[in-house]
Symmetry: C2
Subunit: 551 residues, 2 copies
């Protein structure tokens, strides 16, 4: 056991609270004090949208642990309503302001842990401070939103920002009966997904009655005479609203660290080493305030996620207790549910690979059922798998669907963590009974298709290049499917006639073959390739091409 | 492309059908003929219990592919009602008997693939051929059961055998309104689980009204005057029944291979190499007829599972097409649902480790929620994780619960496949939003607890040794919990009082500490260990000890 240390922790939610509890378990002798400027510690901030939506009924349901519990079970002193306003690194002291009294005092530390989190972005848009415009970060914030809804009974809400919080707030407000308009500056929802994978999510929530406005930025909030708001956007549109939720994003709350001269990084967060130590050896930082290395590309990024924050807290505690434990970076596993659809991702997406200058990758799309098709209730899952062309290593996966999405992304997440290849996915042995999966689970299928590509059995065409190609487009779906809709210029030879009619096709021209999802076109491609045709297959079929995701 | 080969495949379900279709995709020139003695190929045999239960409504729903589809899409000839009765290895010919006409003929092969599957065990118990006693292997079998139920409107069913089929039939018969008695010879249900993990499954289905009779063997079936049956058991009990399902197990259908002199193995299946080749280089075998190496222990075993059968079919096809692809053995991932509870496992269980002579393992138990506790609807998942003491490698996992079981076992399955350690599980980055998981997912928690053990932070006591130990039993639950029930002889100091009262405890005697699930006892153990006490923690708490799984 090391000599008794005085450890002060700034911020008592995911990272800070984990660090405090873990440190106590590793070092009974340390003196540990946890400061938070708010009234609570260790509350479930990921539950706030659902508390607003009354799925989580009581404020007390959000409290994972109380100050008393920290005191009794862990001998950890908790000081709420206590804002840490400055750090004197030389004297190893912090200055604490008691929020309620305004008094300040100083506390000496041997080790300081910074876990203040990230704060919602609030850009200087005209009218942004109008009544009825809310952000969501804390329990008091969510109580304010609940009160607004109860008192003003708003009918129309505008949610600004189509990330996690925006989508979760959309769900909860819609379920409370509000008509929601969701405005997003980017041309897609949910940035962890690539744009074509965000498409089914968008279509799904539109079907559920949400008005989604992409590629449009808010330019002003105007108050009207009846006390409601009008949200003006760059495209010139006006969206009336009785309530606005700002969910534009968060930025690391680095003011304290910056003023103390701690090193910040290129992604705007506190820079820490693998043991969560800042540029000052007596100061650690964890959670949403730091920047981390992307586990796949190695690029520094800001990844405000609860899971990594918890692990960072544990690792900082281990380091403080003199143990060796290393943070491995953030893989970026994320999930979001909205009105019955789930979207999730792990590892790198294609945008991030491109930004990092990675070109040696390939991608496949598939749309398997969530479980065996012969058992009722299966729903399509739309999957995109990214993998290395050189060695088949899995780089990233995205999935969208009504059910079974989290399970597949978790499987991909463990595969990526372990450096698995698509050949491993092909052979993975997963749970199969018809109500749970399939003999060839979606995870297997993704691996099988990717392995076919890497083995040279299935050359791929990219849906984004169909407009430019000189190739002959061959649709091998049944005539009824073809006639209901098909890619412009595509000819139709159904798979079941191909063996009789293949001589109609040219040998001197590349053929791009598609079906609905990529199964029949794979059979067709294999047949034609072995008969001397030059063939590429449209991965994910017409469903991926058109974004006509029938979920 | 190799020269045109004549490939005959015996058996047209999972392994045989997969092999045929894959071979066509790899070798357009091969002549492929698929034989099956039944009326169908490529049917969903894992769906049969649900077809009996009318969850799957139509016979046609079970048909994954038709002979016509094989013909048209793959140029594969299918001969149903065709029983392959012998192999002439010297002449490379098989003898085929047309089931309907009784005629026989011979067919020459370059390559033969055996995929006849496994047949239900039907021991010579007196009365076993009585009317009303059914087995379930084929679509005609399930039609017979459906007809019996429709015509006889049975009220009482006895299911003999508590494995997958037995449990799935129990669910389906119970859901049709029958009162089911489930009789199992072993002292536990579902042998892929260790006995203490089968306990919550048993309790759950008992609560749902199933009479479970363990550790009892059927000795006779007697017909009564009213046309019903009485099932007599070794223990002397009599169970009246209007219908009996025999689901005692299956054995590889090796008669054909044996008569042809192919090598069989110690587990009773056809012995094949990693490319699925039998002792005759021109004959391959796949699916339930072969024996395989246990991927964790390396022991030969019979593992009749659809997923591996499909992969074996693919690998045999690759080998036949002259490609190099290797079967990696069977990891034993299995899942079974019964009346609202799911039980699943992957990798080795403790029984198998012991049988294989492995002693260098450790185990932990935990009972986390299926998702964050603050979001409504979370259900406990009972988990057992087995791992190597030496290097922390994950060896096996079992889980039982109402929801989220398949997802966690899939994550463990991928981890085992990749050689992950418990330290990897600890750091795994999985999907977290409150309706899907937790910031510390059950998979992380299993890894964290196991890592605590391996790091020496948490010495464990085994629930099975409580009766013998001289240790002081310390229960750190709250007094109300302690007084409602506790382990005989345990004293109570609640965790929240331990820091004040720990001096009541002896330093010269080992202390075994427990709580409900293992969380508070972990805190207590860490505190006491650091204060110089000799402590072990009862992994999984009183819930694991008593098998009082409140699911």
């Amino acid at each position: 056991m090391s000599e008794s240390k005085r450890v002060l922790i700034v911020g008592g939610v995911a990272g800070g609270a984990s660090c405090a509890a873990r440190l106590r378990r590793l070092d009974e002798s340390a003196e540990i004090v946890l400061f938070d400027r708010g009234p609570f510690v260790s509350f479930a901030n990921c539950g706030l949208p659902y508390y607003v939506g009354k799925v989580i009924k009581e404020e007390s349901d959000l409290l994972v642990a109380s100050p008393e519990m920290f005191e009794k079970n862990f001998n950890i002193a908790v000081r709420t309503h206590s804002d840490v306003v400055s750090i004197d690194r030389e004297k190893q002291e912090i200055e604490v302001k008691e929020v309620q009294s305004g008094n300040t005092y100083r506390e000496r530390y041997d080790v300081l842990v910074l876990a203040p989190g990230a704060s919602p972005v609030k850009p200087p848009i005209p009218g942004i401070d109008s009544l009825g415009i809310h952000i969501l970060r804390t329990i008091p914030d969510s109580n304010r939103i609940r009160e607004w809804i109860e008192e003003k009974t708003p009918e129309r809400a505008v949610v600004v920002g189509g990330g996690f919080i925006g989508l979760e707030m959309t769900e909860n407000l819609a379920n409370l009966g509000l008509k929601v308009t969701l405005i997003e500056m980017l041309p897609q929802l949910l940035p962890p997904l690539d744009p074509e994978m965000a498409e089914p999510l968008t279509r799904h929530i539109e079907k559920k009655g949400v008005a989604v406005e992409l590629d449009d930025a808010v330019t002003a909030f105007e108050e009207t005479d009846d006390g409601s708001l009008v949200v003006k956007t760059k495209s010139g549109r006006s969206h009336p609203a009785d309530q606005v939720i700002l969910a534009i994003g968060v930025k690391p709350e680095t003011a304290l660290a910056k003023a103390a001269g701690l090193e910040l990084g290129e992604a705007g967060g506190i820079r820490v080493d693998n043991s969560m130590r800042t540029s000052d050896p007596n100061i650690f930082a964890v959670g949403d305030v730091i920047e981390v290395r992307d586990g796949v590309t190695g690029v520094w990024c800001h990844a405000p996620l609860a899971g990594p924050a918890n692990r960072q807290g544990r690792i900082a505690a281990a380091s403080i207790a003199g143990r060796d434990m290393t943070f491995r970076g953030v893989q970026g596993t994320t999930i979001c549910g909205c009105l019955g659809v789930t979207a999730a991702a792990t590892g790198a997406n294609e945008k991030r690979l491109r930004q990092a200058g990675v070109t040696d990758y390939e991608k496949v799309y598939l749309h398997p059922g969530s479980h065996a098709g012969y058992y009722p209730g299966a729903k399509r899952i739309h999957i995109k798998l990214l993998f290395s062309k050189t060695d088949g290593k899995v780089l990233g996966a995205q999935a969208v669907g009504e059910t079974g999405v989290d399970k597949r992304i978790d499987a991909f997440a463990i595969a990526i963590q372990g450096g698995a290849t698509v050949f491993d996915l092909e052979e993975a042995e997963l749970c199969y009974a018809p109500q749970y999966g399939a003999a060839k689970d979606p995870v297997n299928l993704a691996g099988m298709i990717a392995a076919n590509v890497l083995r040279g059995d299935l050359p791929l065409a990219d849906w984004s290049q169909i407009e430019e190609t000189d190739a002959l487009l061959l649709d091998v779906r049944d005539p009824k499917e073809y006639h209901s809709d098909h890619i412009d210029g595509a000819i139709n030879i159904p798979m079941f006639e191909l063996r009789k009619r293949f001589e109609e096709l040219p040998k001197d021209r590349e053929i791009w073959v598609n079906c609905a999802i990529g199964q029949r076109s794979y059979y067709a491609a294999r047949f034609l390739l072995q008969n001397g045709f030059r063939v590429r297959e449209l991965s994910g079929g017409i469903i991926t091409y058109w974004g006509h995701y029938p979920i």
